[in-house]
Subunit: 241 residues, 2 copies
């Protein structure tokens, strides 16, 4: 039990003023201070957003140049995926084969940054599907979020599989197909890509955006030893190189 009186909300009722009239005006003045602070916080957020937008623009040509260079390295992205400790976990053997055709990856934040982003996967002609680009797009903190029941949401390009090459379908008919978990524990890449049930907790998308996209070279160049714990005798292996 508190010895201090609980007080009602200032805007709602005038109880605080009635109880202790000398406080009412002071509370109004504190509220005015608070509004000034809130306004400053909002201005700070806007300025920070502008800095982020400016640097997104400045980084863009670097990323584009990098993309062009990356295209010259065979299997760059699939190698980076394979060497990434978490992303490697969702790569089925045949998907890995398919991802050899992935020649460009792009992450684009929306202009206002907070509202979402998209990941574009660009493919060479390949035996698996007709699409040149597969896009997974996340609409997260938009102003529409509170009003629109379809928000937050993610969407994925429908994959136009070639005959008999539908990796998703094949995977679903495999015995372990039913055991697959949603998010963070995807069994396969295209299962992740096609799943839009929980866009706010899409760990794989976040790893691509925050880990692989800012610096894929570190994954391309460093072998992911944790994922192959069976290869314990490294010295012996190196002797065959």
């Amino acid at each position: 039990m508190s010895t201090v009186p609980k007080r009602p909300k200032l805007d709602g009722e005038a109880n605080a003023a009635e109880e202790e009239p000398e406080n009412a005006e002071t509370l109004e003045q504190i509220d005015a201070c608070q509004n000034e602070i809130d306004a400053l916080n909002e201005k700070a957020s806007e300025e920070i957003l502008k800095v982020e937008q400016k640097y997104n623009k400045l980084r863009k040509p670097c990323y584009e140049k990098r993309s062009e260079l990356v295209k010259r390295i065979p299997n760059f992205w699939v190698t980076a995926f394979i060497n990434h400790p978490q992303v490697s976990g969702i790569l089925d053997e045949e998907e890995e084969e398919c991802l050899h055709a992935l020649n460009k990856l792009e992450v684009e934040e929306f202009e206002d940054i907070k509202s979402g982003y998209r990941i574009n996967f660009h493919f060479d002609e390949n035996p698996y599907f007709e699409n040149k680009v597969l896009t997974k797009e996340f609409h997260l903190n938009s102003a529409a979020a509170s009003e629109n029941s379809d928000w937050p949401a993610s969407t994925s390009t429908p994959i136009q599989w070639k005959e008999g090459k539908n990796l998703l379908k094949q995977l679903l008919t495999k015995p372990y197909g039913n055991k697959k978990k949603r998010n963070s524990e995807y069994k396969t890449f295209f299962d992740w890509f096609s799943d839009n049930t929980d866009p706010v907790n899409d760990e794989i998308a976040e790893l691509i955006k925050d880990d692989l996209w800012p610096n894929p070279l570190q994954y391309y160049l460093v072998p992911d030893i944790e994922v192959e714990p069976e290869e314990e005798d490294e010295n012996e292996e190196e002797a065959f190189d």
Copy 2:
């Protein structure tokens, strides 16, 4: 088993170049791109820091004005503490009495923001201790952090208890004194204040910094009904007001 060769680190060995010599130069160019991107990221962080510093300066007079106004409201801070759902949980009955003497609270981020902050508790003359100000200070992400084994660290003003008024000592000799947990589950306010064992996970300090300090009015004015679930019949209570 991957069909894609693992590659060694670029800087370390020249294997990538030896294996596929046509890639070596491209990898160097990608690395150069990556360095440009890193430099831009660093500049972005610096600009964002400057914005935050600018607004910390702009907010300061508002906070100071608010402090002066708050001093005119008896028991403002202790009421806000009592009405805060988590902070109320660490208020011992006698501490609550003692905190009636708390006339000013300040949260100061260090100039470079990331390296830490301090919380100053200013007290009126009171029957419990001699100090006018009790400060708990957090040194977190400083440049010294990696080199200095004393980082991260927090420090607390030693409390000069008046004779027979040591609330900490009293609490420690109470039967439940041994059961108290560290952090997030403190039993008492002065236990929290004096504890510096895990400065990076000081939940109470973070609640004061991120919740109470930015807008204490919302806690001062809104009764914390969750903490008193036994008062179920609200209408009946209001009839006695």
